[in-house]
Subunit: 246 residues, 2 copies
């Protein structure tokens, strides 16, 4: 018993294009090819095709399916691996859904959808979790309120000040200045004032923030774009500043 390409395509619920594709990639060859170039598939090919489609519906990739069918890989093992992937994927989407919901609430609350930058040139809402965890919800809310109270102009200016400070740290680092040098400590004071606009700065807060500048790449790059190692200079300078002044 032998069928034409359309026949098996229809009976297996797929398309002739798909069969040709499987032929091309060596996943399912026709059992016979006529002198006219027509492909014909027999019983065995049909069975194989059905197994392929079954696995594909489970979401396996064609290369993975090929391995399983070639017996190079245990079906159960492949499925378990795949299951992990699927669960990760679901996790990701679940998180995305949560994010979209949050964003929707924001925009519907009349907020402009803009990357609001505070603290260090980033949308501070992005750091909500970290901030709340380290310094409590009050600290976050206070900073958030303060930020919201600024005009767009003020926001921009504030953000620009941070950029300038970062650039100055970069130049100091480039010049090889020490964290306890007067120049660096002067820049650090400006940083202190800048942060003080948004939050009450305590000693552990300031020191912790400095450590975060090094530990969290989102902050690190903010300084290190002015030269690798700048963030570390800033952290050390902040620690010294805190010891001396806070």
């Amino acid at each position: 018993m032998e069928w034409s390409i359309q026949d098996i395509a229809r009976s297996a619920g797929t398309t002739s294009r798909t069969l040709r594709h499987y032929g091309e990639i060596g996943l399912l060859a026709p059992s016979r090819v006529g002198s006219n170039g027509y492909r014909y598939y027999d019983q065995d090919a049909l069975v194989r095709l059905q197994r392929i489609l079954l696995l594909r519906e489970l979401g396996l990739g064609l290369p993975a399916i090929a391995e399983v069918l070639a017996g190079q890989r245990d079906t159960a093992a492949a499925l378990r691996t795949h299951l992990d992937l699927l669960e990760q994927e679901r996790q990701r989407i679940t998180r995305q859904i949560a994010s979209v919901r949050t964003t929707l609430e924001k925009t519907e609350g009349g907020q402009q959808l803009m990357a609001e930058e505070v603290f260090d040139g980033f949308d501070h809402t992005q750091f909500k979790d970290e901030v709340v965890e380290r310094w409590g919800k009050d600290a976050y809310d206070k900073g958030d309120q303060w930020w919201g109270s600024l005009s767009d102009e003020d926001k921009r200016a504030h953000q620009q000040r941070q950029l300038d400070i970062a650039a100055d740290f970069g130049r100091a680092h480039q010049a090889g200045l020490a964290p306890d040098s007067d120049v660096v400590q002067a820049i650090t004071q400006r940083l202190h004032e800048w942060i003080g606009a948004a939050a009450t700065v305590t000693k552990p807060y300031f020191v912790g923030l400095g450590e975060m500048y090094v530990a969290d790449p989102r902050f690190t790059q903010n300084y290190d774009r002015h030269g690798a190692g700048t963030a570390e200079l800033v952290r050390d300078a902040m620690k010294i500043y805190a010891e001396r002044n806070l």
Copy 2:
């Protein structure tokens, strides 16, 4: 204030390649291009980039983002549409996970992973409960025995007949034929004969089976993969057929 491509890439947490891509597709043009071909981006471009990346992290496609940023589309509306998509996607993956789990259990139970299809293109042991409940244990045992008595060849042939019948129903539905049309009734007769091979077909049995085709998604999809609404056509056709012939 102006930055090079690497500068904004780093500060926004993306790559220069991405920025060039956005330039190519017209999503974000550099604010200035030097005579040497270098791209430079200003404050406004940075803000725009940040909004783009924000939306992208929520999973929106670049064209959708372009519409939103162009003001052609309301952000909230776009997000709501997107939310629906995400939820569908999560549904799909959840179903896939369930399927993979089922398949895993089967293969670990030592069963051969093959599409054993009977009754309606499915592994009939999967429907044991329903069959026993509706038509009694005898009916199930009889069908099961009959099925077991077939050679693999015969099983295949029987299964193939069902697939052909389903495909024909699909084409009839696509053609807009009525359930009481001669063509559809002829297909239904073939279905009757096909079922008759396994079980004694009575009027309520036939009608009930038709209803199950619509009520149980495992059956429904078997027909509806040939076009949404096919299962309903089959049910109606079976009812009419039963009234006239059983």
